[in-house]
C-alpha cells in the first residue's frame, strides 16, 4: 500500500488539520515508512483469532440511574475561549436548516 499526497490531504481534512506542501511531502514519506512497517502484521494468519478490545475482558459495568451533582454553569464555561453568560459561542454554523 502506497500513500499518496492526496490521501494525506484527505486524512488531514478528516482530522481537521492543515499542512503546507512541504509538510505534506514529509508526512507522506514518513507515513509510507510507518505504514509499510505496520503491514508487517500481514505475515500473521489471524483468520481464527478473536479481536481483543481490552487487555482485561469484563462486562456489564453500570451505574444506577441516580442524580449526581452537576458542575455550575460558571465552571462549565470557565475555560471557554468565547462565551456569553450562559452559552458557549462558536462561529456561525452554516450547514444547517
Amino acid at each position: 500500500m502506497t500513500i499518496k499526497k492526496e490521501d494525506v490531504k484527505y486524512i488531514a481534512s478528516l482530522a481537521k488539520l492543515k499542512f503546507d506542501e512541504n509538510e505534506i511531502e514529509k508526512f507522506t514519506e514518513q507515513f509510507n515508512e510507518i505504514i509499510s512497517y505496520i503491514e508487517k502484521l500481514n505475515e500473521l494468519d489471524t483468520s481464527n483469532v478473536e479481536p481483543l478490545a481490552h487487555p482485561f475482558e469484563s462486562n456489564n459495568v453500570f451505574r444506577n440511574d441516580e442524580l449526581k451533582k452537576s458542575a455550575s454553569t460558571e465552571e462549565a464555561l470557565k475555560n471557554s475561549p468565547s462565551k456569553t453568560e450562559e452559552f458557549f459561542r462558536v462561529p456561525k454554523v452554516i450547514n444547517q436548516p
Binding site: I3, D7, V8, I11, A12, L14, A15, K16, L17, K18, F19, F27, Q30, F31, E33, I34, I35, Y37, I38, E39, K40, L41, N42, E43, L44, T46, V49, E50, P51, L52, A53, H54, P55, F56, S58, V61, R63, A71, E75, A76, K78, N79, S80, P81, S82, F88, V90, P91, K92, V93, I94
Partner: protein, 469 residues
C-alpha cells in the same frame, strides 16, 4: 541536611523533630528552583507549604493518613481541580481542570502534599520528552541527553531529588523507559488497577497511572493507595490484593522467565552485561530462571502503533477550540476554527499520530489495520498467558539503549518508536511492568531492568525488586 531512605523513615524523622515538613517542602521548592534548567516542572504549587503545616500537626496528633507529608509531583496530564491541566500542549495552555483525578484525590485523601505538575511529552506522546510546549526536559545525569518520555518530568523530579515520589502515566513505556533513563523505580500497574478517571486519554485501552520513586517501599505504598475499583471508570477493577508494603519483604522464591526475543541483536552489549550480572544475583538468591519465548514480540510495535494512534485520533478530537482550550484567532467560520485551532495548537508528534490513527480507522482500512491489530493483540496476550502458566515473573531489559542524545531521533519517528520494543507489550496485554535501576554504563548513564508479571500480581515483582534492593 534532610535525608531519608523512604517514607516511613521520613515520618520517623519528622516525629523525632529532625526536620519539619514545612522545611522539607521548602527544600524541594528551592531545589526545583535551583534545577530549573532541567525543566522538570510545568507548575509549582505555592500552597504546598501551607498544606505542609496542616499535615505536620496531623502527624503529631497521630491522625494523619498513610501518605502523610509525602511530597508528590503529578504529571501534567492528570486533572487537579482549579489547577492548570495542559498536557504540555499549547492547545490546553490556559486550561484549568474543574475536577480532580481519582488517583490524585486518593493521594490527597491520605495527606500527601502535591508540589506541582511535571513536564511531559505533549499528550504523553513520545519517548524523549522533546515534544513539549513547555520545552524539553534534560536528563540530570547528562544534560545533553533526553530523560526519556513521555513522563520525563516525573522521572527527573524524583531522580534529581525535587520531590519524594511522582506520578506518571504509561501507555507504551512512558513510566518505565524514563525511569530506566533516569535511574529510578517506575511502576506501570496492571491495566485497570488504577482508575483512569482524570487521566487525559491518549489511548484508552492502554493508559495506566503509576509511581516513580527512589525506594521500592514507596512504590508499594503509593500503589496501595491509588489502586482499586472506581465507579467513575468502567475499565477499573477491584483489587484482590491491596496490601503491598506489609508483604513486600516476604522471602518468596520465584520462577523467572527470560524471553529470548528480548535479549537478541538490538540490545546494547553493556546493558546486556549488567542485566546478566543481576540474573546471577537472582539465581544466587535461590530463584529459578528459565529461557522462554514470546514469539510474537516482533509484531508488538506495529500492533501498538495502530491501536494507540487510532484511539488517540478519537480521544484528541475534542481539542478543537469550541468549548475550552486554545482557539485560533483565525476562525471566521466553523471549519477554520477547528482546523486552525488544531493545526496551531498541536505539536508535530501529536499531529503525526492523529493522522496515522485517522488513516487506520478511515473507511475501507478498518479491517486491514484496526481489527487485524486487535487480533494480533490477542496473539500477544496468548504468548504471555502461556508464559505465565510456567513462570511467575518475566525479566527483560527496559530499553535496548541508554538515554540518547537530544535531537538524535527527533527526525526519525520510526526509529524512535522502535525504542519502545521492550515496553509496549505490557500495555498491549495489560500486565504490570516495573523498572528497577541496576547500575550505570561506562558513560555513567543509568541502566534499567524490567520485571513483568501476570495481571494483578504486582506483589511478586515488588517482592523480587525488594530482594534485589
Amino acid at each position: 541536611m534532610i535525608s531519608y531512605k523512604n517514607h516511613s523513615e521520613k515520618i520517623a524523622q519528622i516525629k523525632e523533630g529532625k526536620f519539619s515538613l514545612k522545611e522539607n517542602v521548602a527544600f524541594f521548592i528551592n531545589e526545583i528552583e535551583k534545577q530549573k534548567h532541567l525543566n522538570a516542572f510545568n507548575f509549582i504549587f505555592d500552597d504546598a507549604i501551607k498544606i505542609a503545616d496542616k499535615i505536620e500537626s496531623k502527624i503529631k496528633a497521630g491522625t494523619a493518613g498513610k501518605l502523610a507529608g509525602m511530597v508528590i509531583a503529578i504529571k501534567d496530564v492528570l486533572a487537579i481541580k482549579d489547577k492548570p491541566l495542559t498536557c504540555s500542549s499549547n492547545i490546553l495552555k490556559n486550561f484549568e481542570a474543574i475536577y480532580t483525578a481519582t488517583a490524585v484525590q486518593k493521594l490527597i485523601d491520605e495527606d500527601a502534599i502535591i508540589i506541582g505538575k511535571t513536564n511531559c511529552d505533549e499528550f504523553a506522546m513520545g519517548s524523549s520528552n522533546e515534544n513539549s510546549a513547555f520545552g524539553k526536559v534534560l536528563n540530570p545525569f547528562d544534560n545533553q541527553r533526553v530523560p526519556g518520555g513521555s513522563s520525563g518530568g516525573s522521572a527527573v523530579a524524583v531522580a534529581a531529588n525535587l520531590c519524594d515520589v511522582s506520578l506518571g502515566t504509561d501507555t507504551g513505556g512512558s513510566i518505565r523507559q524514563p525511569a530506566a533513563f533516569c535511574g529510578v523505580y517506575g511502576l506501570k500497574p496492571t491495566y485497570g488497577k488504577v482508575s483512569r478517571y482524570g487521566l487525559t486519554a491518549f489511548a484508552s485501552s492502554f493508559d495506566t497511572i503509576g509511581p516513580f520513586a527512589k525506594s521500592i517501599d514507596d512504590i508499594a505504598l503509593v500503589l496501595e493507595v491509588i489502586s482499586g475499583y472506581d465507579e467513575k471508570d468502567s475499565t477499573s477493577f477491584n483489587d484482590e490484593q491491596k496490601i503491598y508494603l506489609e508483604k513486600i519483604s516476604e522471602p518468596q522464591k520465584f520462577k523467572i522467565g527470560l524471553p529470548k526475543e528480548y535479549f537478541s541483536s538490538g540490545l546494547n552489549e553493556e546493558i546486556k552485561k549488567l542485566i546478566n550480572n543481576k540474573i546471577e544475583i537472582i539465581r544466587s538468591l535461590g530463584h529459578e530462571t528459565v529461557e522462554i519465548s514470546l514469539p510474537n514480540t516482533e509484531y508488538s510495535i506495529a500492533t501498538y502503533y495502530i491501536l494507540t494512534t487510532a484511539e488517540a485520533s478519537s480521544n484528541l478530537a475534542r481539542y478543537d477550540g469550541a468549548h475550552y482550550g486554545f482557539r485560533s484567532n483565525d476562525a471566521s467560520n466553523l471549519n477554520e476554527m477547528y482546523t486552525n485551532s488544531r493545526t496551531e495548537g498541536f505539536g508535530n508528534e501529536v499531529k503525526r499520530r492523529i493522522m496515522l490513527g485517522t488513516y487506520v480507522l478511515s473507511s475501507g482500512y478498518y479491517d486491514a489495520y484496526y481489527r487485524k491489530a486487535q487480533k494480533v493483540r490477542r496473539l500477544l496476550k496468548n504468548d504471555f498467558d502461556n508464559a505465565f502458566n510456567d513462570v511467575d515473573i518475566i525479566l527483560t531489559p527496559t530499553t535496548p539503549n541508554v538515554a540518547f542524545k537530544i535531537g538524535e531521533k527527533s527526525n526519525d519517528p520510526l526509529s524512535m518508536y522502535l525504542e519502545d520494543i521492550y515496553t509496549t507489550s505490557a500495555n498491549l496485554v495489560g500486565i504490570p511492568g516495573l523498572n528497577i535501576p541496576i547500575g550505570f554504563n561506562s558513560e555513567n548513564l543509568p541502566v534499567g531492568m524490567q520485571l513483568m508479571t501476570n495481571q494483578f500480581n504486582e506483589l511478586k515483582i515488588l517482592q523480587l525488586a525488594k530482594q534485589l534492593s
